[in-house]
Amino acid sequence: MDLSYTPEEEDFRGRLREWLAKVLPGLPPKPSPDDWPGRRAYDLGWQRTLYDAGYAGLHWPIDAGGRGATPTQHLIFLEETENAGAPYVGANFVGLLHAGPTIAAEGSAEQRARWLPPVLRGEEVWCQGFSEPDAGSDLAALRTRAWRDGDDYVVSGSKIWTSHAEVADWCELLVRTDAKAPKHRGISWLAMPMDAPGITVRPLRTLAGSTEFAEVFLDEVRVPVANRVGAENDGWRVTMVTLSFERGTAFVGEVVACRRVLGELAREARKNGRWDDAVLRRGLGRLNAEFRALWRLTQWNVSESERAGGVPGIGGSVFKLRYSRARQELYDAAAEVLGPEALDLDSRWTLDRLSSLSYTIAAGTSQIQRNIVAERILGLPKGR
């Protein structure tokens, strides 16, 4: 067990830190959460900056245009960019963490050449067409169907909770290509161009008041058969390959951010006198223990995946269960510290508190994650 970094890793950290100090002061101001075109431009601009400096797709394989970095280097990258206050992956989330890795792992040479470079260069944005109104947690129950017509699939149905749909160029779309097969078997994975006729995007307003995601209606949308990644009806397996990668590192930067936020909160409490409340103070101390432990668990999972040749284990569900709860506790504690200000929608703390509510739902609810842990790690029988 070793928590020290190698000289190469420290060197990588040092160069990254220097570069961040140089490049971050020149960034434009962050756009407002509702300004989707502004957010797209801002996030693609940051991606282009990363690309030009050789940091784009750091953890992607080299033959997919990435840098082939080790999981530890990727961990350092996420830690340093977060600590320096660099932009988050933002609108590039699906392209970089989800669709890109899927195409890299399962796509043909032509597909990799077509779709991967624009993601890395910050030229194209992807969105995720997985969830449906009647199939959220039961993802495989999706009903959006696709039938062949010559060289095209014709797609009809609807998707929901689609972030970045308004400004996306492509959608990673799960469709049902065999209605008679068992529900996990008749699914295919398509890359759908978002400017195709028949697509309607209706923004959805979240409880925080912003339009964070959208509903996407598909009315006989034509998608070339050549846009299918993986075999027909093998889309579920293709998707599972990617989901495990996503859970591996999706929250690294956020744990770092939570530790910083906790420090800010303690200083805020000292300023406004709430620090004298022993119950509140001890609560913040316990959250410090919590986020220290979550950081250690992150390092444990990253080391494990490094030993496995970059393949993440199924510990991601364990991590997500605890992290999503801890994040909500952090912002509840913030409300205790802030008092009346916690009801001010112009306060960053209030918006962050509201958005923290999504963490136990998005990317697999806590209830689904507990089933995954119980069945796949602990080996308990399936049932209800």
């Binding site: 067990m1 001890r282 316990r286 919590e290 444990w300 089933n371 842990v373 119980a374 049932g383």
Partner: protein, 297 residues
């Protein structure tokens, strides 16, 4: 960074587990619980632990020790926690190299921890001021206790080894719950097929894994704040793990015959050792005040 067990550490853990299964397996545990004059310290086992290097683990080889470090000691104590091994293990381990015979297990050493002393009557040497010690009827049937009027200050290494024992106990109760949930049938299926039971079990595992990260990291850094955090999370994992294990066992879990109550009572006892939860939380809160924003590793 390679925050995983080395091959040597895996081998050490397997070796300690095997020794404890052989010498302090379930039958031996139950015999100790049900012995007429329980609790009784098994001197032969104590010497065997000494020969295996349990107490001399961190003593330099030049001093007759094994020459290993805190991470290895933590792995050994995790196994002790799993097995519910009895006796003043932490006190004797800490006395190795300082009290003659402690390293080899010939001398049993007890120590004042807070306002409690475990195994006072059985010990050959007692460290700390035990003037005015009063015996208690201990909640843990396998750990005799005395109360003392003057509290001794907590020792961070003792706190870490205790956290390791809590971790082992938490991992064990999670296993026991899962075993029971897989085999016990109700309404025509194993109870582990019910989400309510599944979710209890998965939360147990989450607490174990979070505590494991914290305890192992504290063993590597030996940082007092890391140890404080590890203690809080390991106490939580052990106490709540035992409770949830009892719940999964239903009525059977509430009986003397099940081992669950032994884990729960020992977890309560260990949670009283060293720094209190309040003190640990205060120290971790103070750290938030002093910490400058910026990179941390």
């Amino acid at each position: 960074m390679d925050f995983q067990l080395t091959d040597d550490q895996r081998a050490l853990r397997a070796g300690v587990r095997e020794l404890l299964v052989r010498r302090f397996g379930r039958e031996r545990l139950r015999a100790a619980v049900d012995a007429p004059d329980a609790p009784n310290l098994d001197r032969a086992l104590w010497r065997e632990l000494g020969e295996a290097g349990f107490f001399a683990l961190r003593l330099p080889e030049s001093a007759g020790g094994v020459g290993l470090g805190l991470p290895e000691a933590v792995l050994a104590f995790e196994e002790a926690g799993r097995a519910l091994l009895t006796g003043p293990l932490v006190a004797t381990h800490l006395a190795a190299g300082e009290v003659p015979g402690a390293a080899t297990g010939e001398t049993v050493v007890a120590a004042v921890d807070g306002t409690l002393v475990e195994w006072l009557d059985a010990a050959d040497v007692v460290r700390g001021d035990v003037t005015g010690a009063v015996p208690m009827r201990s909640a843990d049937p396998l750990t005799p206790l005395h109360r003392v009027p003057r509290a001794a200050p907590p020792d961070p290494v003792a706190a870490l080894l205790t956290a390791a024992e809590q971790l082992g106990s938490a991992a064990r109760t999670c296993e026991l719950a899962v075993q029971h949930a897989r085999t016990r049938e109700q309404f025509g299926q194993p109870i582990g097929a019910f989400q309510a039971v599944k979710h209890l079990c998965s939360e147990m595992l989450v607490r174990v894994e979070v505590a494991r990260g914290a305890v192992y990291a504290a063993a590597v850094t030996a940082d007092p704040l890391d140890i404080a955090a590890a203690g809080l999370l390991a106490d939580e994992a052990a106490e709540r793990g035992a409770r949830d294990c009892l719940q999964v066992h239903g009525g059977m879990g509430f009986t003397w015959e099940s081992d669950v109550h032994l884990h729960l009572k020992r977890a309560w006892l260990r949670a009283r050792r060293g720094q209190s939860a309040a003190e640990a939380e205060e120290a971790l809160a103070e750290d938030l005040q002093s910490a400058a924003p910026g990179p941390r590793t």
